[in-house]
């Protein structure tokens, strides 16, 4: 890093020992942060998978909570550690089932979009010519549509469900994946190993799947981590607008929407799902950042 050397050279006041100590401390904090992020993600994934087995109080059926306290404030010692909402539904349980929806939609939409976009981008970048031009036009047109409006249209036509939301969100990620995969393919095609494969008489499909695909997959996956976070936020926004899974089935977004009017009196109704979502998105972003910076370091 030339620039940091230059800045430090102009300010020679700090002692070298102090700086290196500070540097080591920072490094440790960065590692710790990453581990915390991992830990949170493991917890949230575990809770989402095991939501049916874990001993949470009823969180989905208001018919079963007639004798539960409504609007209980968080109390770790009670049967409702994070409190209940106005129908007596348990917020901790809601968090778990909400995590299930968020993660399913986030990961599902990203995987689907990545798969479709990557295949199209690879083919377009490899074949070039007229197909490439058509694909370019189509992706540009898709990007021009206002995404939120499109989503609302899709959800309004079909009944809102996890599957519909996942597929619509996946469709929205396709164009950017196409562009990314195409750009990577263009840099790979003139490389020696592709030329070699051609010289050996490999078929086009073999070159695409055996030579190009393995090289394009990794950058796409590292980009995908950030996309998962974005998809979770999008799903939450849709839920918040009442366009995803419907109450009383809990999602983080619809829990916030249901609780926002009584934020003054019962802030936990909003804060519990909000903090869970914030920590999840933050953790995913932190992991994505770590992967990306490692990739940059390897590239150098």
């Amino acid at each position: 890093m030339q620039s940091s050397e230059a800045t430090e050279a102009r300010q020679p006041a700090r002692s070298g020992a102090a700086r290196s100590r500070a540097g080591r401390g920072r490094l440790e904090w960065r590692t710790l942060r990453l581990w915390l992020a991992f830990a949170w993600l493991v917890v949230i994934i575990g809770v989402a998978v095991l939501a049916d087995v874990l001993p949470f109080a009823e969180a989905r059926n208001p018919g079963k909570t007639l004798y539960e306290p409504a609007l209980a404030t968080p109390d770790l010692a009670s049967g409702h550690p994070l409190g209940t909402d106005r129908h007596g539904l348990d917020l901790l349980g809601g968090l778990a089932y909400g995590a299930r929806v968020s993660l399913t939609v986030g990961i599902g939409a990203t995987a689907l979009g990545c798969l479709i976009g990557m295949l199209i981008g690879l083919t377009a970048g490899f074949v070039r010519g007229r197909l490439d031009a058509v694909v370019g036009l189509l992706t540009d047109s898709m990007l021009a549509f206002p995404p939120l409006i499109l989503l609302i249209g899709a959800v309004a036509v079909m009944r809102p469900s996890v599957l519909v939301v996942t597929c619509s969100l996946a469709l929205l990620t396709v164009p950017s994946y196409v562009r990314l995969a195409r750009a990577h393919t263009l840099t790979l095609v003139p490389r020696e190993f592709v030329l070699q494969a051609r010289a050996l008489g490999a078929t086009s499909s073999r070159i695409v799947f055996k030579e190009l695909l393995p090289n394009v997959v990794w950058p796409m996956l590292s980009y995908s981590i950030v996309v998962v976070a974005a998809m979770i936020v999008s799903e939450a926004s849709l839920s918040y607008l009442g366009l995803s899974v419907q109450r009383p089935n809990p999602t983080w977004g619809n829990m916030i929407a249901a609780g926002q009017d009584s934020f003054q009196q019962y802030p936990h109704l909003v804060l519990v799902p909000a903090v869970a979502m914030f920590l999840t998105v933050l953790s995913i972003n932190a992991v994505g950042e770590a992967v990306r910076s490692r990739e940059l370091r390897n590239a150098r």
Binding site: F145, F263, L282
Partner: protein, 371 residues
């Protein structure tokens, strides 16, 4: 010249595809537009009459051509559901609201993120950089609707607490800047930039004490309405802040990383060797070549904000494009939906092209490579 011609052809083709897709997508939507007009209680004759009125009995391509012809002349017909109004007029009433929110939000985001990013890049790895980067990272992980909910809680329901907090921050900045300026003066450096910061912060303190505006929970006041500019600004302040906080993270990150790379190049080193002052190096030398990605990102986000301020519009009950379209979708008013989507897509495409053009002006390398 050939490149420009190619761009224009591409632009026209994309717009045409978008218009075709909008038209066809809404064809695929189940449900009869005649039911949207009449409700479910009409007689078969009435339905047939409405369909003929709307031209739904014509073949698909004829309807598309007549719709496109009307659209090109700015005539989108009448909305199907009450209040029956000219769709172009409805769009013209809603677009300025969304545009104002989006443009002001973007501007505010730039005003905050450019200085932050430049200074963070300059002090890479130091305290300011670490704190601002963490802050930006946190804001990036907050969805817009949460930011909005928290801002409403703070500014609308607990104005006193927010006023105190803002006062404390301003006083802190003023004293900090004043103190550092004094130390600098004692060392023999020029303290004037910091003195300026201190004075500005003090003025801000006075302003905050004298006039702390109350922010409305919801609603919009047009520029031409009674309150004029002041009322308008009071109404859009919170929505604009919400939009700005949502956009700011990306801007700061993009500019900071680009700026760090630029500060590492030979011509910046040369400027340092010539002994140019820091602000000349940062703003005069490095900012322009480092700003290309930011220009792209900001341009695209203005385009997507035109259709993407929906959440803010819902939160603050603003009469913008997003809510117009959602209401039209809910009432099956496909005429309005088609027109709105087409207009938004056209704005996005044109802004995209404008960014491309701006790129050419900003970056002499591209300009000269083509000539």
């Amino acid at each position: 010249m050939r490149a420009v011609l190619k761009r224009v052809t591409h632009l026209v083709l994309v717009l045409w595809l978008v218009s075709l897709a909008t038209f066809l997508l809404l064809e695929l939507v189940p449900g009869d537009p005649a039911t949207a007009v009449l409700g479910t209680s009409g007689t078969p004759d009435q339905y047939a009459q409405v369909r003929a009125q709307l031209g739904l009995d014509l073949p698909l391509h004829e309807r598309y051509l007549s719709w496109l012809g009307g659209a090109l002349q700015g005539d989108f017909g009448e909305s199907l559901t009450p209040p029956h109004q000219d769709v172009s007029a409805a769009l013209a009433a809603r677009l300025p609201v969304t545009f104002q929110i989006a443009a002001c939000g973007l501007l505010l985001a730039l005003v905050i993120s450019v200085p932050t990013a430049v200074w963070a890049a300059h002090r890479q790895g130091r305290i300011f950089d670490r704190w601002s980067s963490s802050g930006v990272f946190a804001v990036m992980s907050l969805p817009t609707f949460l930011i909005g909910i928290f801002l409403i809680q703070g500014f609308v329901f607990h104005p006193q607490a927010m006023q105190t907090a803002a006062l404390l921050v301003a006083v802190g900045v003023a004293t900090g800047a004043g103190w550092t300026a004094q130390r600098r003066a004692a060392r023999g450096d020029s303290p004037w930039s910091l003195v300026l910061v201190a004075v500005l912060a003090s003025v801000l303190v006075l302003l905050l004490i004298v006039a702390w505006p109350t922010f409305p929970r919801q609603g919009f006041s047009r520029l031409g309405a009674d309150g004029g500019l002041a009322e308008n600004l009071r109404h859009i302040a919170l929505p604009v802040l919400t939009v700005a906080l949502g956009e700011l993270a990306l801007f700061t990150r993009v500019l900071r990383s680009e700026m760090i790379q630029t500060l590492d190049t030979g011509f910046v080193e040369a400027a340092r060797a010539r002994g140019l002052p820091t602000h000349r190096i940062l703003l005069g030398e490095a900012l322009r070549p480092a700003s290309f990605s930011l220009v792209t990102v900001a341009g695209l986000s203005l385009g997507s904000l035109m259709g993407g301020t929906l959440i803010v519009e819902v939160l603050f009950n603003l009469p913008g494009m997003g809510r117009l379209l959602v209401e039209a979708i809910e009432s099956n008013d496909y005429v309005t939906v088609q027109a709105g989507v087409l207009v938004l897509a056209a704005i996005y495409v044109l802004l995209n092209a404008a960014v491309d053009l701006l790129y050419r002006i900003l970056d002499p390398r591209i300009r000269h490579a083509e000539q």
